[in-house]
Symmetry: C2
Subunit: 231 residues, 2 copies
């Protein structure tokens, strides 16, 4: 099991060791994530992680220098998972506005299904915890991809030129964030699509063309009565 110290260590063994180390890192984060799910966003205890991993607490410090480093890794993991859900939904939807809507909805579904991690990402429930720039990166990628989808929507004539802007991205994010936080605070046990709040999401998305009306819509709206009503 242990490599005798006096023998030269073959390169494969180093790889194996590195791989094993990565596996342990992931295992620690799996346990930490489960703990957050069970105990709430402030429920991470390194002692409990060690207990579940079957090691003594000091051993964890070979993998993470502090509790906050674990939180930071969880933050990055959450950003990664949320971003993956969004990118996947965007890729699967027709380009343009449908992709924007699909991406935002995927973010909402993910957040309600992972509320403790979502709180870590979307608010700041822990004093003295500031995510590192590295942990934030997936979120930037998500923002960039949503903005690309908005630009597609402008190109396709689904939204007006103003939608190709940082402001439009922020509006879209505000709409999904509102749906998430109202659902989570008022109906934390209901999944996306049930209750009084998350079902409003399609109506909120219909507001994007109202805020950034495409040229055709402007013309057609003046030609027909009552089309000013959104959905």
């Amino acid at each position: 099991m242990a490599t005798p110290a006096e023998l030269p260590v073959p390169a494969e063994a180093i790889d194996r060791r590195a791989r094993r180390r990565l596996e342990t890192l992931e295992e620690i984060l799996d346990i930490a994530e489960a703990l957050l799910r069970e105990e709430g966003v402030n429920g991470l205890s390194l002692s409990e992680v060690a207990r579940r991993l079957g090691v003594q607490p000091p051993s964890l410090y070979k993998y993470f220098p502090s509790q906050m480093a674990v939180y930071d890794a969880l933050f990055e993991r959450g950003q990664r998972a949320n971003t993956d859900a969004v990118l996947k939904a965007i890729a699967a939807a027709p380009p343009g506005l449908p992709a924007v809507i699909a991406g935002l909805e995927a973010s909402g579904r993910w957040a309600l299904a992972n509320q403790a991690l979502a709180q870590l990402l979307f608010w700041r429930p822990l004093a003295n915890f500031e995510p590192t720039a590295h942990a934030m990166e997936p979120g930037l990628e998500e923002f960039a991809e949503l903005r690309r989808a908005l630009a597609d929507a402008v190109r396709l004539g689904q939204l007006g030129p103003g939608a190709d802007s940082a402001e439009a991205l922020h509006v879209a994010i505000t709409l999904i964030a509102g749906a998430i936080v109202t659902a989570a605070s008022n109906e934390p046990h209901l999944p996306w699509g049930e209750g009084r709040f998350s079902p409003l999401f399609p109506r909120l998305m219909a507001l994007l063309p109202a805020l950034y009306p495409p040229a055709q819509a402007r013309r057609s709206r003046t030609a027909s009565t009552g089309s000013g009503s959104v959905k």
Copy 2:
């Protein structure tokens, strides 16, 4: 200082004692609120409260039966403060849609200025804490008042008849909640009105007439080109 036990206690003394007790209760909550502000929503420690109050921790149990009871009182206090801000803004604004907007904006200002309390109200960052119905009551009052203001807006022709509904109230709440949570998570140190998110609030409010267009707007919109754009 202490009333001798063998003497009959005058009624004023009982009142004084009750008043003094209420004062202490408020003082405890003041300290607890300050602690939340300093340490985050999960930073309430009864030992620290006792330290700052200048008593020993066990003494606090004469006022609150448990830590969760303190959290519940803080929850109610937050609801009360937020609701007061909203009601005051509604009362000071012209009735109808301006009152709705003023009320929601007041809620946003309060939330950004009291983020730890706001997290307690608007998300569920603490495992094993469920606010009591009593602590929720001010929130219900706020919802009812906002809905009255929406009904006024319908009566005044500022919004269409659909705005006199629970759904419209939920939409309005979703919009302000989105503004709050995006500002708090992305720019926690900026006050309301600065940064990339809370300044979008007026544009979001302009979406209410887009969702629930009043009769006149429908007519005037068909008569003029380009007015389909919101704001």
